[in-house]
């Protein structure tokens, strides 16, 4: 899969290729989404977008359009959100290794926000100016999740982290129509962001953390006003201890506590109060 950074006017644009694992990540990020076409790139000097094209007859590469563009403003419902675009461009630049120098990289990230906002017609929630961060944390209340067998067995770690009982064993992305299709940090993160989980605090929001058992499963933690983290391993009881039996608080947190097979720490996120999941 070939990536061309459309940025220069006189010089040839930087071009590089994704390796197998990067192609898989590209599929996670872009499959099933409405993608911009190279013709949609704005006519301007400096960063215009990244054009990705299949350059093998590999079946995996045919799951995406032959040529498509990233980092370009779009108006369709299934398009990448501004945050997803910023994240995707940032990731693509990381895959470029020595092909793109730091100066170009900085220019791209600065120009990207401007490009994404300039074509916006209707106000989009993710492009509004960030509201002030108002962390909203509530006390640990495991009884709510544990006392009733139906509630306990039909609500999972995602229900717990978002603090929304649905009795559907909620899955990231199912509410917004783009459930994750693989068990990687990138895929589950993208699905959660699609649902409305935020990558940084920009409103009245709860702090949560995502970890992944690569190829197997994901798990979430939620921070409580008591000063520790709670979590609910699947259908089992909500708890505030890790796999060593230690309370996840003080110097212990989701990044350094015993997480059993969930070896990958994907990051911290923020859940708007009242967020719906399914």
């Amino acid at each position: 899969m070939r990536v061309e950074l459309e940025v220069f006017s006189g010089r040839t644009n930087p071009v590089w290729h994704l390796d197998d694992s990067q192609v898989r990540e590209a599929l996670d990020r872009f499959s099933g989404r409405s993608l911009a076409e190279p013709a949609d790139l704005p006519d301007q000097l400096g960063f215009r977008g990244l054009v990705i094209s299949a350059d093998t007859d590999d079946p995996t590469e045919s799951e995406l359009p032959q040529r498509f563009a990233v980092g370009v403003a779009q108006d369709s419902r299934d398009a990448l959100t501004a945050d997803e675009s910023v994240d995707a461009v940032s990731w693509l630049l990381e895959t470029s290794r020595h092909h793109v120098d730091d100066q170009i990289r900085e220019h791209v990230m600065r120009a990207l926000r401007g490009n994404l906002e300039s074509r916006s017609i209707e106000a989009k929630a993710d492009l509004q100016p960030a509201a002030p961060c108002q962390p909203y944390h509530t006390p640990y209340n495991p009884g709510f999740w544990n006392n009733d067998a139906t509630v306990r067995t039909t609500n999972n770690c995602y229900n717990y982290a978002v603090n929304r009982r649905t009795n559907t064993f909620a899955q990231p992305g199912r509410q917004c129509g783009h459930q994750y299709t693989s068990l990687t940090c990138a895929a589950v993160r993208a699905a959660a962001l699609c649902d409305g989980v935020r990558p940084s605090c920009d409103g009245q929001q709860r702090l949560v953390a995502l970890v992944v058992w690569p190829g197997g499963d994901y798990h979430w933690y939620r921070y409580h006003s008591d000063g520790f983290w709670g979590h609910k391993p699947g259908k089992t009881a909500a708890r505030n201890t890790d796999n060593s039996g230690n309370v996840i608080g003080g110097s212990l947190n989701p990044a350094n506590c015993n997480r059993g097979p969930y070896t990958q720490f994907c990051g911290y996120f923020w859940v708007p109060v009242g967020l719906l999941i399914r």
């Binding site: 899955q171 708890r239 969930y262």
Partner: protein, 87 residues
């Protein structure tokens, strides 16, 4: 009758159906007192789902990881169904 492998947190647990012979074998291996499930992340044990309440057993029986022959039977079942990597 179905066996559920209680291992995941976000994704639903794997499950498979027992044949008549497998169900009879399993019931013969059940302990007098149920063993508690392990807690926390990762493999915690097995759960027997028995909606028809066959063999005079409840509709849900928590089996934990099991011990001895029961553990061997359940482990073999899980491996046979492709879940060795989750144990």
């Amino acid at each position: 009758m179905e066996i559920e492998l209680d291992v995941f947190s976000g994704v639903p647990n794997p499950r498979w159906t027992l044949s008549g012979a497998e169900a009879r074998r399993l019931v013969a291996l059940l302990p007098a007192t149920p063993e508690p499930e392990r807690e926390g992340l990762g493999f915690r044990g097995f759960v027997l789902h028995n909606p028809e309440r066959e063999f005079g057993l409840p509709d849900v029986v928590e089996l934990g990881p099991g011990t001895g022959e029961l553990a061997a039977f359940l482990t073999a079942q899980a491996i046979h169904h492709g879940y060795a990597h989750l144990l």
